[in-house]
Symmetry: C2
DNA sequence: CATATCGCTACGAAATCCGTAGCACAAGGG
DNA sequence: CCCTTGTGCTACGGATTTCGTAGCGATATG
């Protein structure tokens, strides 16, 4: 599962998650990711574009591709687990 | 989703994945994770034990808890996606 | 010209990770 | 008692990655 190594980079899952609903500009995305440093954000976005998970539209900003949306759907069951887990741990 | 920040640590998803089937000793786990350095592996295992995803049995070694197995199940849809994705990207 | 926003880069400091060696402990055999 | 083997794990210096901040070039608006 090479995917696990891709997803296991800092901020990558978070970026995916923040793009779940709408397209976001580079700066808006950065703001949602606790002001992650722009160099890292740009690196992650480049990686995600390289493998066809994210696209950059000159007008709309960054958005998930069809593959990206499918990946997010595959990640959806996590949300339920995370809620139960957060309730237990705090 | 604080979970995303936890999962987005290097080797963490990989460790979870390698523990999917059987209990593994520290060294066996390290061998399966491309010989990740023991300090990092130990740090990740400590984090995972702290939040109740992994346990250490003195005899059997490291294993997933019930929560850990549930998390892995929530992650299961990833596998199908990853296969299709790998076929497309290479 | 001034202002504002965009994506993105530069760069030094800080945090993290890697690679190797080895410690302390326990179990088994001679 | 010693020797070997295996365990989880730590130490430490160097390599890599990330952070934080400042700012560039381009574009649009007033």
């Amino acid at each position: 599962m090479a995917l696990l190594d891709l997803l296991g980079r800092r901020w990558l899952l978070r970026v995916l998650w923040e793009l779940r609903g709408e397209s976001l500009s580079f700066r808006a995305l950065r703001a949602r990711c606790d002001a992650v440093s722009p160099s890292v954000l740009n690196a992650r976005l480049a990686e995600l574009r390289e493998v066809g998970i994210v696209t950059l539209d000159p007008d709309a900003g960054y958005a998930l591709t069809r593959d990206g949306r499918a990946l997010l759907e595959a990640l959806a069951p996590l949300q339920g687990w995370a809620e139960r887990w957060a309730r237990r741990i705090g």
